[in-house]
Symmetry: C2
Subunit: 271 residues, 2 copies
């Protein structure tokens, strides 16, 4: 099926969304200790933006994305990859079903994030910025608690509204406005006692390098954590990398979202 | 071989080098007029950084990269793509041999660049910043001349030295230093009468958004031109996009290259 001369080691299920995948590929490359092409990871990115929306499926209690995700895993296995990464947190809702039929190891983004959090923080309260689908799936709550971190999900509904808005803005290409929305969510998290904030949606990883004010919070980038975990699993040396800095806005893609924020600090929900 | 639910339309032979491919994927995504994931191009990137060096092969008069490039084309065809892009100018040396066995159209980066140059410039003298392999291959000289543009390759040997240095620096991850080297090459091109400069190596496309001083030259980015050509061929609407801005440097990857430049303006070679 594939010639040994071009066999990939890492398979990536991408396009969920495409900018988040480009960010992952960019960080994977920037984090690899390499001075020339041949020192980088041979990889294949299957970019499948046509998949049904993951959060809609989880909230609607159906498995629409599962069959195409399984097909992607099968194709990557047929291409001979040793391990697989999904730079989409929400898609990990179906992780167990996907690993069941994969010879290649699927690196769980949640495990990668917990390892990264441990490198950044001994203990403390971690706010999770993620899709509603990821939150319902619950794997971050389980894994963070099991690792000894306290969870902080602000009760103020504006927190999730800002997170959802930031994710949609990245998907629409408006990175600068998404950064503003993310900073608002971080404000609320910080005001409700968080020590760290997990960018637990890879759209928010795109925004990571564009954040100007994070209010002293430790920021954990799920895309960067996953890239590091893949490099380590494959035996490559990893180094720190910054993400995609703010890029200029494109015509027709920006909305005016600079309305002033009324921060209503409310106590955290302890999960 | 691949399920219809995840079939890619665009196949990308990437990893030549990896940062150049990440830049291409990023620009392809940023240039797509889309507000949500499903409006983007389903694609597959086969990242093959393990391929033999293209310029070494051309200068050494051997075809080492051809067999693995053919294998990549076969794999992408087997995955059902409609067209193929190679975000590596030098690899186009083997374009005719690759198209011979490909059902999928291979979009020639040279054709994409000439179309982009026509959008930017009515006529004038174009300097080509490319690998020595691409220059020996000669397809830019042929295509630009056929399109009515005058070519300007500065006789000053420092021009090509700066270009080669910039390309190596990008491969080693030092984008900021590569930008300085590229600006030096652009200085020489401008001093010898160029109206426009083609970043005819996709490593230099990575640097495009980090250039501060281009001396009034019209800059043509081969990666952006190829991304636009792919979108157009596939029937997607394209918009302008900026590339990857300068990112912070990584430890152990920078060299001190800020030695002052002695610009010895010499007449262009008319090719």
């Amino acid at each position: 099926m594939i010639d040994d001369s071009i066999r990939p080691q890492l398979g990536i299920i991408g396009g969920l969304g495409p900018l988040a995948s480009a960010d992952f590929y960019f960080k994977l490359t920037r984090m690899t200790q390499a001075l020339r092409d041949s020192e980088h990871v041979p990889a294949v990115i299957l970019s499948v933006p046509q998949l049904p929306d993951r959060t809609e499926a989880i909230l609607g209690n159906h498995d629409g994305p599962l069959a195409p995700l399984k097909a992607a895993v099968s194709t990557l296995n047929a291409l001979g990859v040793a391990c697989i990464a999904m730079p989409c947190n929400t898609a990990h809702h179906w992780y167990d079903q996907l690993t069941a039929n994969s010879q290649a190891e699927i690196i769980h983004i949640g495990a990668a994030v917990v390892a990264q959090t441990r490198r950044s923080l001994d203990r403390g309260r971690v706010a999770i910025l993620a899709t509603q689908g990821t939150l319902v799936s619950g794997f971050y709550q389980d894994r963070m608690s099991a690792a000894g971190f306290e969870l902080c999900l602000p009760a103020n509904p504006e927190f999730q509204e800002r997170v959802d808005s930031a994710i949609s803005l990245v998907k629409a290409g408006s990175i600068a406005d998404a950064a503003i929305e993310t900073e608002r969510a971080l404000d609320i998290a910080q005001a409700t006692g968080a020590d760290a904030a997990l960018l637990g949606c890879t759209e928010l990883s795109v925004v990571a390098a564009s954040l100007n004010d994070v209010g002293g919070l430790v920021i954990i980038d799920s895309n960067a954590a996953l890239a590091r975990a893949c490099l380590t699993w494959l035996g490559f040396s990893a180094q720190d990398a910054r993400g995609l800095p703010t890029v200029s806005r494109l015509p027709g893609h920006d909305r005016s979202l600079r309305a002033s924020l009324i921060t209503l600090a409310q106590p955290c929900s302890r999960l």
